[in-house]
């Protein structure tokens, strides 16, 4: 019985804290999405589907679609870059492996806002990159590097790349590279042997990397706000506008529940695949 008492003593403080400040607020969000908004930016008593009906407003489906699309492209580019990096690092021996891995991770520790700001300053109309490209005649005087979809995508790849490299590297580290030699001995080309042997070999890492990039990408807000234009807004921007701009809290809550529902898809996919693999292993 004393064991049970210890367990409860160890579990209660944190679980209680998270129940009050994480679980209850999440349900509050769901609840408020069914409440009417009042003109003072508050929430009225009573129930309504107004905020949910407003999601059909032509603005929102476009933004939901753009959010999903931008996140999927970001994920694809991150995986495409992280795969060869993980392949290379996993094969490498000695101290360079650690040093290079460290070099990939270090930017990830630096402040997120500063990293996005650095890009904004770099791509700024008066900034180095645009002036250089202008001087070389690569772009015309009307071309802006900032405030467009390309800038949003590039900075999203920039900030999310380490999330893709780490799990893929962990998988590549356990991969048996002699399998590749076997495939080539049997006549497969280098590229083909990598695609047919290495990629399936690190599928677990690929799945984790996909989720680790896709989920935070869907919740992006800072990047489209700082380097995107008005036509590159993502659902996070709309949530922030409804919260702090025109203060329609039920609408903000509805959009957040919709975002949560979308992010649950990759979470569930990873969960189900992991469980299936567990069941298949004796």
């Amino acid at each position: 019985m004393t064991l049970r008492k210890n367990e409860i003593l160890l579990t209660t403080p944190t679980l209680l804290w998270l129940a009050v400040f994480f679980v209850i607020p999440s349900f509050a969000m769901l609840l408020i999405s069914f409440r009417p908004a009042n003109v003072y930016g508050g929430v009225e008593d009573g129930w309504t589907l107004d905020a949910w009906r407003a999601l059909a407003d032509p603005d929102y489906p476009i933004i939901l679609w753009r959010t999903t699309w931008l996140s999927l492209v970001t994920t694809a580019v991150c995986l495409a870059l992280a795969l060869p990096i993980a392949f290379f690092l996993g094969k490498l021996q000695g101290k360079w492996r650690g040093i290079l891995l460290m070099l990939v991770i270090v930017p990830f520790w630096t402040n997120f806002v500063i990293r996005v700001a650095a890009w904004r300053i770099l791509l700024h109309p008066e900034g180095m990159l645009r002036q250089a490209l202008l001087g070389l005649g690569v772009i015309g005087p009307d071309t802006l590097l900032l405030y467009n979809e390309g800038a949003v995508l590039m900075v999203m790849v920039y900030t999310h790349l380490p999330f893709a490299v780490l799990p893929l590297y962990a998988a590549a580290e356990r991969f048996d590279y002699s399998l590749l030699e076997a495939a080539r001995d049997l006549g497969a080309s280098g590229f083909r042997s990598v695609m047919r042997v290495f990629v399936p070999g690190v599928s677990r890492g690929l799945l984790t990397a996909m989720a680790l990039v896709l989920i935070p990408a869907l919740g992006s807000y800072v990047i489209p706000d700082l380097v995107g234009g008005p036509s590159d807004e993502m659902i996070g921007n709309k949530i922030a506008q409804r919260t702090l701009g025109d203060r329609n809290l039920p609408q903000a809550a509805t959009l957040s529940v919709a975002l949560l529902a979308i992010t649950m898809i990759p979470i569930l996919v990873v969960f189900l695949i992991n469980r299936k693999e567990h069941a298949n292993q004796p």
Binding site: P25, L100, T263
Partner: protein, 264 residues
């Protein structure tokens, strides 16, 4: 077997891509020219500008950021250590729930945690400000500390506890003299991670902040957004980067010391 050079080249290009913006930012913080397109000579004037009267609110924000980071990492070190021990030593239904509740804040986008906390605080009629920021930071830091301490517990030799018990140590003596010293590097590393996460956080803080309680990331953000004082942003960002690297270096050293200290 001749191996392709392509992966190495991609890695090299990606490293340039990763470091170029940060390096340019640091270099430009010493650039005399206002715009980064030209090099106007070395200067420290942007750092001097940080000390000027008009930038006093930056220092106020920095102090608030540090205060919140120290308190939230301190409290989440306690919460995270307790829950890591619970998850490690017990396999009950309760721990399955505990596991889910602890991991979700790490997985879901931070934006969602920010908005749900804001709605919760508004519903309670709480005054938004330093207090609500602190609560929010403890909430996301506790989970990260749990994960780090849990990692440390995985290499924990349970026999040490049995030995202490056989030698007649009471429960509290075991906790104080055996478990805590062995877990200390993990707890401190978790605390340092919590500290950096708290200092870095923009999105959640942005939602739960109130008038007059800006943190440094919020200040930098609004300066960047309005393209105001770009060279000053470079200077303060460079100082910020140095602080982060110091903390990361410190926590790396603590984690590296793990195997040697555990095996002796």
């Amino acid at each position: 077997m001749k191996s392709s050079r392509v992966p190495a080249v991609i890695l090299l290009l990606v490293l340039v891509f990763l470091y170029l913006p940060i390096l340019l930012l640091v270099v430009n913080s010493f650039n005399e020219a206002r715009y980064s397109s030209t090099w106007g000579g070395f200067t420290l004037k942007w750092y001097a500008a940080l000390l000027e009267r008009e930038n006093r609110d930056l220092w106020e924000a920095a102090q608030r950021t540090l205060l919140i980071a120290l308190s939230s990492s301190g409290i989440s070190m306690v919460l995270g250590t307790l829950s890591a021990c619970a998850l490690h030593w017990y396999r009950s239904r309760l721990q399955q729930i505990n596991y889910g509740v602890l991991y979700l804040p790490i997985i879901i986008p931070d934006l969602l945690m920010g908005i749900s906390l804001l709605l919760f605080f508004v519903g309670l009629g709480a005054t938004l400000g330093t207090g609500t920021i602190l609560i929010a930071h403890i909430t996301f830091c506790a989970s990260f500390v749990t994960v780090v301490v849990l990692g440390r517990l995985q290499g924990f030799d349970e026999n040490v506890i049995n030995a202490a018990r056989d030698l007649g140590a009471t429960k509290w003596v075991i906790v104080r003299r055996v478990i805590l010293p062995l877990l200390a590097p993990g707890i401190v590393a978790g605390g340092l991670l919590a500290f950096t996460l708290s200092v870095d956080d923009y999105v959640i803080t942005f939602f739960v902040t109130g008038p007059g309680s800006s943190t440094l990331p919020l200040k930098i953000y609004s300066m960047v957004k309005h393209s105001k004082d770009l060279p000053v942003i470079n200077a303060i960002s460079t100082l910020f980067l140095i602080l982060t690297f110091l903390i990361v270096w410190l926590s790396q050293r603590l984690t590296d010391s793990q195997p040697t200290r555990a095996s002796r």
